[in-house]
C-alpha cells in the first residue's frame, strides 16, 4: 500500500515535471538573469550610466524647479524624482502627475516626464500622456525585455501573469512530490558520481540540484505563484469580498499615500535638504523621491531607498521644512500583524535584491540550478520512454519531444545572449526598440528550435548550440570595448565597475559553455548491457532512471 502511494507521488512528480519542464526552464533561466537586470544589466545597456553619477541634491533641486516652471500648476501636487542608475532609470527623471476626471466619472492619471542626462543634467527627452502610454512609448532595453519576459512571457496581463503564477504552483507541486518520493534526502545530497557513467551523472545531478536547491526552489515557487496570481486573480477577488469590489480602496488600505492637507500658504519647491538627509552611509541608495503638495508649506516628501541593513527597501517621510516625520523599514510594515512582514518579504525573496552582490550571485547560481533541475527531469522522463518500458507513444514521438526540449532550452539561452549584441549595435540607433528586441529574441530562439528539430542527434545539437552561445557570450565584452570604449582592461581608470562586472560574468559564462560543449559526448554513450540497435544516437539521457526506490544503487 505504501509502495503504491510512493508510486503515485512519483507519477505525479514525473508527469507534472514533464509537462511544465520547458516552461520552468525558460522562467527559471530568465529569472536568474533578471536578478542582475536592475540596475546591473540596465547600467551596462546605457553608455550614459556606465560611470555612476554623483548625487548632487542642489543641482537636482534646480532641475526640478526648471521643469516645474514649464508645466501647468495642476501637475505640481504630485511630483516624482527618479534617480539615475539605481533601479529602473538610466537617466534622471522628473515626473509630474495629475488626476484627470474622465467623461464617465472615473479618474485617471496624466503625467509629464522630463528625462535628464545624469551627469550634465541636460534635458534629453520629454514624454506626456497616461502612465501606461508613456511607458509603452519610451525606448526599451534588454534588461526591461528579459525581466518582463520572466514575469509574463510577454503575454501581458492577465494571461502571462496567470501562466507564470500557475507555473509557480506546478513547481511547488513538483518539489513537494519530489521530496516525498526521494525521502533519502541526506544521502542523495552527497551522492554525485559524475565519472561512473552518463546515466548516473544525470540522475545524480537531478537529485543533488533538487536537494541543495530545495529551500530556494520552494521559496521561488511560492513567491512566484503569489506574484503571478495575486495581482490578476486573488487580489481582485479579495477586493470584491472584503472591499465591496473597490480595488482602489484596497490599494489605499495597503499602500496609504498619506497625502497632506494643504495649508494654503505657498512654498517654494525644494528637495535638496531632504535628499542630503537621506543620502547617508547607513541608508541604501536613493531610488526615488516623491513630493506631495510640494508648493504648499504643509507639503511632504517620501524618499524611497534600496534595502540598507534590512531585507526590504525603506521609506523616509519628511516635512518639506526638513522635519523628519517617520522612517519606515518597509512599505507594508505599517499594516501591522502578519500581513506587513509577509508582503514586504515577497519581492526581496523572489528577486534576491537584498544583501548586495553576494546574495544576487547566490540567487543567480541557484536560479540556474532550478533551470537545470527542470530540464534534467524532463530528459529523464524522455529517456525512460525511449530506452525503457514506460510510455504509450512511439519512440519517434519521444525523440521529437527530446529534440524540442533541446532546441527550446538551449535556444532561450542563445536568444538571451543575442540581445546583448543587439543592445550594443542596434538599439541605440533605432526608435522601435521593442520591435527589434521581440524580433531578435523570438527569431533567434525559433531558429534554434527549428535547427534542433531538423537534426537527428540531440547530443551533437546540444554541443553546437551551447558552443555557439558560449562564443557569442564571450564576444560581448570585446564588442562592448569596441563600441563604448569601456572594457575590462581600463576599468581602474574608467571607473565603470558595474559594466566590467557584467562583462566579466559574460566572459566566464561564455568560457564555461564552450568548455561544456567540448566536453559533452557527441552521441549517446552506450552501456554494455544495452541493445546497440535500439540505442541510436538520438534522444536525451541514458540510464537506469526507473522508479527511484530501485535506482542509483
Amino acid at each position: 500500500m505504501q509502495r503504491d502511494t510512493t508510486k503515485r507521488f512519483y507519477a505525479v512528480h514525473s508527469w507534472v515535471g514533464a509537462i511544465t519542464a520547458v516552461l520552468i526552464f525558460i522562467i527559471a533561466f530568465t529569472g536568474a538573469v533578471s536578478v542582475f537586470g536592475r540596475p546591473e544589466i540596465k547600467t551596462w545597456a546605457h553608455e550614459v550610466s556606465h560611470v555612476p553619477a554623483e548625487l548632487d541634491p542642489l543641482r537636482i533641486e534646480q532641475v526640478l524647479r526648471e521643469d516645474a516652471a514649464t508645466v501647468p500648476e495642476a501637475y505640481l501636487d504630485n511630483i516624482q524624482v527618479l534617480m539615475p542608475g539605481v533601479r529602473r532609470r538610466p537617466v534622471l527623471s522628473v515626473q509630474f502627475d495629475r488626476e484627470v476626471e474622465t467623461a464617465d466619472g472615473r479618474t485617471e492619471h496624466h503625467i509629464i516626464r522630463f528625462d535628464h542626462d545624469p551627469k550634465t543634467y541636460e534635458l534629453v527627452d520629454r514624454l506626456e500622456g497616461e502612465p501606461r502610454e508613456v511607458f509603452e512609448n519610451e525606448p526599451k532595453d534588454l534588461a526591461d525585455f528579459i525581466i518582463t519576459f520572466h514575469a509574463d512571457l510577454h503575454l501581458g496581463d492577465p494571461i502571462g501573469l496567470l501562466l507564470t503564477g500557475l507555473l509557480g504552483l506546478t513547481l511547488f507541486a513538483s518539489i513537494v512530490t519530489g521530496v516525498i518520493t526521494h525521502r533519502k534526502v541526506l544521502k542523495e545530497a552527497f551522492t554525485f558520481r559524475p565519472f561512473r557513467s552518463l546515466r548516473l551523472l544525470f540522475t545524480d545531478s537531478h537529485k543533488v540540484l533538487g536537494v541543495w536547491g530545495l529551500v530556494f526552489n520552494s521559496a521561488i515557487a511560492f513567491t512566484g505563484a503569489f506574484l503571478g496570481l495575486a495581482v490578476v486573480l486573488l487580489l481582485p477577488a479579495a477586493a470584491y469580498v472584503s472591499f465591496e469590489g473597490d480595488l482602489d480602496k484596497m490599494v489605499e488600505t495597503y499602500l496609504p499615500l498619506n497625502e497632506p492637507q494643504k495649508s494654503g500658504i505657498p512654498a517654494e519647491l525644494k528637495i535638496a535638504e531632504v535628499l542630503s538627509a537621506v543620502d547617508q552611509p547607513e541608508n541604501g541608495p536613493i531610488v526615488s523621491a516623491q513630493l506631495l503638495t510640494g508648493t504648499d508649506q504643509a507639503g511632504v516628501a517620501h524618499v524611497y531607498t534600496l534595502a540598507g541593513d534590512g531585507i526590504g527597501g525603506e521609506t523616509h517621510r519628511y516635512q518639506l521644512n526638513g522635519t523628519v516625520l517617520e522612517s519606515v523599514t518597509s512599505q507594508f510594515s505599517q499594516l501591522g500583524g502578519a500581513a506587513g512582514p509577509i508582503l514586504d518579504a515577497m519581492f526581496p525573496i523572489h528577486f534576491g535584491n537584498f544583501g548586495g552582490t553576494v546574495v544576487k550571485l547566490i540567487w543567480f547560481v541557484l536560479g540556474l540550478g532550478t533551470a537545470l533541475l527542470a530540464v534534467s527531469g524532463s530528459m529523464i522522463w524522455v529517456e525512460r520512454r525511449v530506452h525503457g518500458s514506460s510510455g504509450s507513444l512511439s519512440v519517434a514521438s519521444y525523440r521529437r519531444i527530446s529534440r524540442f526540449t533541446v532546441g527550446a532550452c538551449c535556444g532561450v539561452v542563445l536568444a538571451t545572449v543575442t540581445l546583448f549584441h543587439l543592445q550594443l549595435f542596434v538599439l541605440p540607433q533605432v526608435a522601435t526598440t521593442q520591435t527589434w528586441l521581440m524580433g531578435t529574441f523570438f527569431g533567434s530562439w525559433a531558429l534554434a528550435i527549428v535547427w534542433s528539430m531538423l537534426r537527428t542527434n540531440d547530443y551533437q545539437t546540444t554541443r553546437e548550440l551551447l558552443g555557439l552561445t558560449g562564443a557569442a557570450a564571450a564576444l560581448v565584452p570585446i564588442a562592448n570595448g569596441f563600441v563604448t570604449g569601456n572594457h575590462l582592461l581600463n576599468v581602474f581608470s574608467g571607473g565603470h565597475w558595474v559594466v566590467a562586472g557584467v562583462d566579466l560574468g559574460l566572459l566566464l559564462l561564455g568560457a564555461a559553455l564552450v568548455v561544456i560543449a567540448l566536453k559533452l559526448p557527441s552521441q549517446r554513450p552506450l552501456r554494455k548491457s544495452e541493445n546497440r540497435q535500439s540505442a541510436s544516437p538520438s534522444s536525451g539521457l541514458s540510464g537506469d532512471l526507473a522508479y527511484p526506490e530501485a535506482s542509483t544503487s
Binding site: T5, R8, L234, Y254, G337, G340, L343
Partner: protein
C-alpha cells in the same frame, strides 16, 4: 502497476485536478477573510499568501482519491460552501 491503475478515470481526474482545483482554491481564498480571526488587512493577505498551500492540498487530494465521484463531490461542496460565504459577505444572500 500502470499509471491507469494508479489513477483511475484519468480524463475526469485531470479535469478535476486542473480546472476544478483552481476554481475551488480561488473560491476558498476569496471567502477566507469572512471567517479567519485576523485584522482586515491580514485576513485578506494571509489566505492569499497561503494560496499555493491550499491549492496543493486540494490538488493532491483530487489526484489520490480513488473514487472520482467523491473527488468531484468534495470540490463541489467546498466551492459551494465558500461561494455561499462570498455571496453573503457582499450582501447578495
Amino acid at each position: 502497476m500502470s499509471e491507469d491503475t494508479l489513477f483511475p478515470r484519468p480524463v475526469s481526474r485531470v479535469l478535476a485536478a486542473t480546472l476544478g482545483v483552481l476554481i475551488t482554491a480561488v473560491l476558498i481564498t476569496t471567502a477566507m477573510p469572512v471567517y479567519v480571526p485576523f485584522s482586515q488587512a491580514s485576513s485578506v493577505v494571509v489566505p492569499i499568501v497561503l494560496f499555493p498551500v491550499t491549492w496543493l492540498l486540494i490538488f493532491l487530494w483530487v489526484l489520490f482519491e480513488q473514487k472520482m465521484w467523491r473527488a468531484w463531490l468534495g470540490l463541489l461542496a467546498l466551492s459551494g460552501l465558500h461561494l455561499g460565504l462570498i455571496l453573503s459577505g457582499v450582501g447578495v444572500l
